[in-house]
């Protein structure tokens, strides 16, 4: 049984469990599934700076921070105790594409040629951590939600604005992965 759990889970298993998060949060406390709001709560708690957007009763949103801390703990526990010892299986065509950018290390879930401590103070680190993170934080708040709030919760509740947002997430991602990143990789 443990061997089975340690193998990478099927997409349908993951999809069902992620989908069930929606009713789970609704049933235990009438909460709407959404993760990017946690970034806003961090701003409201730590650096509100008298900005109206961060002046609200964040104590009522504490559940959301408990939830994301849970995600972090879950990531830790799954890695420590349920980790798959084999290298990640990635589509051969993707490997060929990424090899052109010098990404060849598949020993971890993330490419260590990018996401390693040595890259923090390099141009590569600046682009992948600082610029990338900024776009995620700025974009999700501007859009009013991320993959969880719009693509999963919003689409589940048949919201047209969420469908528009989700299409834009995908359009931005296709542009970034296919046109922007090949140019950026040339810099390193």
């Amino acid at each position: 049984m443990l061997e089975l759990v340690k193998q990478p889970w099927h997409w349908a298993v993951a999809g069902i469990l992620i989908g069930l998060t929606v009713p789970a949060l609704l049933l235990i406390g009438n909460k709407k599934f959404g993760i990017s709001s946690s970034l806003r709560h961090v701003c409201a708690i730590c650096i509100p700076a008298n900005i109206p957007f961060f002046k609200y009763d964040w104590k009522k949103e504490m559940w959301n921070l408990f939830f994301v801390v849970g995600v972090l703990i879950g990531g830790f526990l799954a890695t420590q105790f349920l980790s798959n010892p084999d290298a990640i299986v990635v589509s051969q065509t993707t490997k060929t594409t990424l090899a052109q950018f010098g990404i060849t290390d598949y020993s971890h879930l993330m490419p260590m040629q990018i996401f390693s401590i040595e890259n923090i103070f390099t141009l590569k680190g600046f682009f992948f951590f600082v610029v990338g993170g900024f776009l995620v934080g700025f974009g999700t708040r501007y859009a009013g939600g991320c993959t969880s709030g719009h693509a999963i919760m919003g689409l589940s509740n048949l919201q047209l604005p969420s469908l528009i947002a989700t299409c834009c997430f995908m359009a931005g991602g296709f542009f970034s992965a296919n046109l922007l990143m090949p140019l950026i990789f040339k810099l390193f």
Partner: protein, 163 residues
């Protein structure tokens, strides 16, 4: 004073505008959300959704995996909400479950495109960001701090941005 439009926009920011009437402060009442989060984070790691490689596969249309995950999640979520609405299911503490409609604004387009660009670069939407840090990729903490900064800059300049 807030204009009506400003309030409308704020409602869309995934704020919990219908927070539970019952007293929900305190560590113990929030622990259940921590547990749901732990399950969720485990799924992220075990299905390798936190992997930057999976996101590249998705945006190069070279694997069905992420489409399968998101598609299945949406179908399960949709059925769940349909059942809750159809049978007027209450929360475990007996409260009515409420839903609000989102209103469209151009932020969903501009912000959506900007987030999409960042999603492909970092290989993470906000959920996997937390799971990546927990999984031991400590540099992602910098990505997280930068995402908080991005959120803050949006908050500071939102009145000047087209919505």
């Amino acid at each position: 004073m807030e204009s009506k439009k400003s309030i409308e926009v704020r409602h869309q920011d995934a704020m919990c505008t219908n927070e539970s009437k019952k007293s929900e402060n305190g560590f113990l009442s929030n622990i259940k959300y921590l547990i749901v989060g732990i399950v969720f984070g485990t799924v992220f790691v075990k299905a390798e959704i936190i992997s930057w490689f999976r996101i590249q596969e998705m945006f190069h249309l070279q694997s069905f995996f992420m489409y399968g995950v998101i598609g299945t999640a949406v179908v399960v979520g949709m059925l769940s909400i349909w059942v809750i609405k159809r049978f007027n299911v209450k929360t475990f503490s007996g409260e009515k479950i409420s839903f609000e409609n989102k209103t469209f604004n151009k932020g969903q387009i501009y912000g959506g495109l900007i987030f999409g660009i960042g999603w492909a670069i970092t290989g993470a939407c906000p959920g996997p960001l937390f799971a990546q840090i927990g999984s031991g990729f400590l540099v992602v903490f910098i990505t997280f701090l930068s995402a908080v900064a991005g959120t803050w800059i949006y908050g500071k300049y939102r009145e000047q941005l087209p919505h």
